[in-house]
Symmetry: C2
Subunit: 403 residues, 2 copies
Amino acid sequence: MQMSMRISSFQASPIRRLVPYSRDAEKRGIHVIHLNIGQPDIKTPAEALEAVHSYNEPYIAYGVSEGELELRQGLCEYYKKYNAEVSPDEIMITTGGSEALQFVFMTLCDPYDEVIIPEPFYTNVSTFAATAMVNLVPVTSQIDDAFILPSISDFEARITKKTMAILLCSPNNPTGHVYSRDELKALLELCRRYDIFLIVDEVYREFCYDGEAFTSVLTFPEYSERIICIDSFSKRFSMCGARVGAIVSRNKDVLSSAMKLAQARLCPPAIEQVAAAAALRAPESYIEAVKAEYERRRNLLVSGIQEIPGCKVSRPKGAFYFVVDFPIDDAEKFAIFMLRDFSWEGSTVMFAPAEDFYVTKHLGRTQARIAYVLNEDELRLAVRCLAEGLKAYRKKYCLDARV
Amino acid sequence: MQMSMRISSFQASPIRRLVPYSRDAEKRGIHVIHLNIGQPDIKTPAEALEAVHSYNEPYIAYGVSEGELELRQGLCEYYKKYNAEVSPDEIMITTGGSEALQFVFMTLCDPYDEVIIPEPFYTNVSTFAATAMVNLVPVTSQIDDAFILPSISDFEARITKKTMAILLCSPNNPTGHVYSRDELKALLELCRRYDIFLIVDEVYREFCYDGEAFTSVLTFPEYSERIICIDSFSKRFSMCGARVGAIVSRNKDVLSSAMKLAQARLCPPAIEQVAAAAALRAPESYIEAVKAEYERRRNLLVSGIQEIPGCKVSRPKGAFYFVVDFPIDDAEKFAIFMLRDFSWEGSTVMFAPAEDFYVTKHLGRTQARIAYVLNEDELRLAVRCLAEGLKAYRKKYCLDARV
């Protein structure tokens, strides 16, 4: 029986579609180092886990569709640390940042409307856009420019009557770029001129390195009505499986419209919201320690991969990913080789081929997204495996390989 | 700024859109009896809550997109009680039955494709269909016929080249009808003839009364490839806030296609899946007691409302809802009256106006969906409030009221 044309056209996630290969490798006893996915091995705040352990309701009841008030109030307090004044009714809790993005596409766009986005970008955005039949219009950012914001004129050139929004992720997944106050201001001014929205996914907000300050899009009150911030507890508190995110906007129409979708799916998960509210009570030292840990991991992995001959890396300023350009023909082929045909002293590495992080055809084919969320021993081993794997792959497949 | 035309056209949930009125009433100190929503006051199984309390992971990690294997294995064991042989790879865990329905619409249908559904039906299906741009084609079931399956020829007359599936809910929300083996068989035969799917939402499977047996659509192996079963833990184990549901199908294309959507949203909530897996270990006596309790509640509320002059009720055989036809002009107007303008000894009743449970215009305007999930004292009070409220409303608004 036929499935829909639409589902047939959707891509499988490049972050997850190689999982059958990694499972097979693991079945063969090979230790697979997962650099493909941002699944931290850092502990969830004790406050969150304690809240789960002392969950004291007699039944796990439906919550309100917009998310629990206590959690939204907690977020308001938290945003103050980023100089943003937000009230609880400007927040909708969602089932992860994933649902937040889906709601925003549906709310702002009709089918065939357009959203402009710097590429490479978090690949699952493509599926959420496709689900809403929204066309993503890319503006390419360059590895040689450290993936900074492309020029405003590049964005302006792509604005049409169908453009409803520009979508950023800051700190960026996958590039690690942190958009500056000036970059945000320039984009907001462009959005004002064309009367469109700026959506900023800030789920990696805490993770800015080298002393770099983070600017939240919520700190531009003069553009409030056209700003939508996407948030999530997953990365900040190492609780990716909790699926608690948020839409923050001072534009009341955005939230009241998204509410129709929220009510249809009833409510976000109940116990996880309790955990999230408790996580916000974790001391500042928790985040500081996590951030310092990621900075060490970044330093280790970036340096390690930069030393592999032929690998090009743009040093990330934030989040916990970077893009590497390999001296090979095809990063997906290389990824499958690493999982299926290669191991070094019983280990191998899994990463996410970057081609699907681009809309423009043929870009990113030799690139991969690397997550640096694992501990330093694992990362050291990963560098060694990658270096050896690359040698073996090039010897086998690359005519120009000088081994 | 403009929202999308699509979101503007979506209806707000009739189950939840009157919430501002109920909140206002509660602020005025009025006790609102919530017959509008299937939120049971019955305890979640101790096994599930204990699993939450002893959740012992150091961090709440991403799970696999198809849902945890232990949970899927537990479901396979559970389905055996309904004479259905299912393997774990024929199950995808979803974030509630809500997400399951959304995935199925996206997977089977392209925009403007059609799904045939007996009306009245669970109203949020409309929003899920609209999100996927799927047209719901209704076949009206009648309160005077106890909402049995309309004739097969009525379904057949609505099949076009765009028809991808027929969608049932059994036991039915909102009517309480339980589809018989013969009804299912006749529909499956129709589906086979026209090469379309039969989707059956069985989330109320346990709740069949008067000794009536339940027939799962999973017990028709000869039609396996065209059968999709929607499931959820919410009602069975009184854990509505947990958001754990499932798609069950032996058609591998359905699950592998839906997997693209599942991977994009990463995974269902982690802790709630642990709770769900544990709930499946609850003793049979748990469900038996819950079912007996609902049967008592049904008997009380149905009899009570049948005794209110002018109210017509179709006695439900399953689930925990029924449709009542009030002797008034407009059930939504009456619902608002009950919340805003009426109370009886400090209490009032909230119910869901049924008009949006129909696609066909003007049907169901005088009907409401009533949930009988509250304890008997509350239900007795609800009957009294409804009787008094109806008198007051009719006196005020209905010319033919003989008070």
